[in-house]
Symmetry: C2
Subunit: 358 residues, 2 copies
């Protein structure tokens, strides 16, 4: 038996051109992406043209190989007209606009970017969850102009979910049902509940660990999960608007309108409600999950009681699990599981989208 | 609430050129692929130049949109030199050679095809499981010539396994461990055992249903699973040869050399051995699986006793399950589950590879 040799980098197709990136947003994901691009040593030629936050833009020198954020604050003020015309001045289809901002203003630029033959890659769900008309328009515009509009990280962060679904459809399969847990925050909350912690404790802990938003109602409303299922349904070819979804909110009515501090202070009053609900589930050998489903053209999102021994019931941490049933994968569905949040995996998912573009 | 509109085909990037396919092998997968290509109505332009089996070749007319096999038997005899020079006469990088044969002779043509700037897509594991040197040579040659060598269906048929692993690596992650069940045949056998059927009954049933090879020893040897892990390890950058794997064969020593009929006739003598082994596992709340793992640079393939309540223990049908642990996905690994065999899903996986090529 010969000695095992060291690991080495696998080979990719030789790059024929330089991919030029512009990264909008330098928060957790944007900053991590910039580091991943700086460290990238695969077969493609990536170059970052510039970065911006909501106020400033910074253009890197042509020679730069490592992209830092130091100079951003000293950069000129944001002028989107100027940025887009600068990006459009490069060779057609060679520039990729990466939006990590979560800003509605930036999402509204996609159409113009695509028309200018600039690819768009984003983890932001904003553009895809407006009207069906805008969703269609963005996709048609990308197709018409021969550029890509990619958003694998809209659901499950770095997990392969959107790409496999599109692959099934493009190869002639038909998606019949989608179901599962697509919120790491929700998995965390209900795992904590299962461990014996109260609902309010779980929410406060999720917030402290950065799993939940500063105002946890943004997670508890179910809006995040609803939007993810809306996007998946549209990818499957369903024509559907946000107001057609059945969404269960976990925010008590009495706490819907109060300020964030009051919400956190008073949430404990509803702990016994959740404890009772969990006990009822436990008595049947079940536990609680916040899940979603697309079935017969309808999307439902809310609390579900599932067998503890099931794959959904065994989820822990910030794991997601999505179950895809199609004509080809019906009795034995395609199941993808893994952590559905985190800056490293999200940035890597964005980078994978970037590398996919020819 | 407005009415839901009908499903419609999602949009793909507009094709800039015609992808020309040559399909070697017209068995279950090749034939299904031909039908899927005939029905394909996505955004790309696919054209089948020709098909062949081990004896004959048939070239389709330029105008054909539906590809039938009727004319194959009347086609000229196979002449690989002639076929390759014909394929090489088309525009560089526009031809895709699809090998669904499982023939060593055809696998040995890949290098020449790649050198002629012809892409290669295959479900066959033959080329990738020869020496590490050949594996490297094929991948370097593809990279040097700017063409693709794709084989997503080498492991898990249509399941997304190789692509996500490559994505992790290309975006700077490092794969630390791979483990799971990558043989639908083996899942079927041990599910049958769990149901109370004897080992020999399970093998005969698997053979009758087409899950096992005509000589089931080709499955029971563990060679299929070993080869899949060998390929995955090499993709992860490990330099490793087939003889460095630790592989447990399920073929009783006494039945290794006998003919196929004798093997099937005498296999029942070992039923009590398997029943005892399963009972021992059951007493610990466990069940048996034939699994593999890549850990610390070593591959082990064989029988494993796993908790019944675990994801592996709950596998049924012909399901595969692969667990990917990387730097980014460690405490919460990336898990992919689904049927890992079948002509429809395998052909669709091959077609997805074809559609990936720019």
């Amino acid at each position: 038996m010969t000695q095992l040799k060291a690991y080495k980098q696998p080979v990719t197709r030789k790059a024929v051109k330089v991919k030029k990136l512009f990264i909008a947003g330098v928060g957790a994901v944007g900053d991590t992406l910039l580091k991943q691009v700086s460290r990238y040593n695969g077969g493609q030629n990536l170059r970052v043209l510039g970065v911006c936050n909501t106020r400033h833009v910074h253009w890197y020198d042509h020679s730069q190989k490592e992209y830092l954020l130091n100079d951003l604050l000293r950069g000129p003020s944001i002028d989107w007209e100027d940025i887009i015309s600068k990006l459009a001045s490069y060779e057609e289809k060679s520039v990729i606009f990466v939006d990590t901002t979560g800003s509605q203003e930036v999402a509204s630029l996609y159409l113009k970017l695509l028309k200018n033959k600039i690819h768009v890659v984003t983890p932001s769900k904003l553009a895809n969850t407006q009207s069906q008309e805008i969703f269609d328009l963005l996709h048609y515009t990308a197709a018409e102009n021969g550029v890509d509009f990619l958003y694998e990280t809209n659901v499950g962060a770095g997990l392969p979910i959107i790409y496999p679904i599109k692959n099934l459809i493009f190869t002639g399969d038909k998606i019949l049902e989608l179901s599962g847990v697509v919120s790491g925050t929700m998995t965390f909350l209900f795992s904590e509940l299962e461990k014996g912690n109260s609902f309010s404790e779980a929410v406060i802990k999720a917030r402290a660990l950065g799993y939940a938003e500063p105002d946890p109602r943004d997670d508890l409303s179910g809006e995040d999960v609803a939007r993810k299922f809306l996007i998946l349904a549209r990818i499957c070819g369903l024509q559907i608007e946000r107001n057609q979804l059945e969404v269960e909110s976990l925010i008590p009515k009495e706490l819907q309108e109060v300020d964030s501090a009051t919400f956190l202070e008073k949430l404990h009053r509803f702990d016994s409600y959740w404890m009772d609900k969990l006990l009822q589930a436990n008595q049947k050998g079940e536990t609680l999950r916040y899940s979603g489903s697309l079935k017969n053209g309808k999307i439902k999102v809310g609390i579900e009681s599932v067998p503890k021994a099931s794959a959904l019931g065994q989820l822990s941490g910030t794991n997601n699990l999505i179950c895809i049933k199609s004509r080809r994968y019906y009795d034995q569905p395609l199941i993808i599981q893994g952590p559905g949040a985190g800056k490293e995996v999200t940035a890597a998912g964005v980078l994978a989208d970037i590398l996919t573009i020819p």
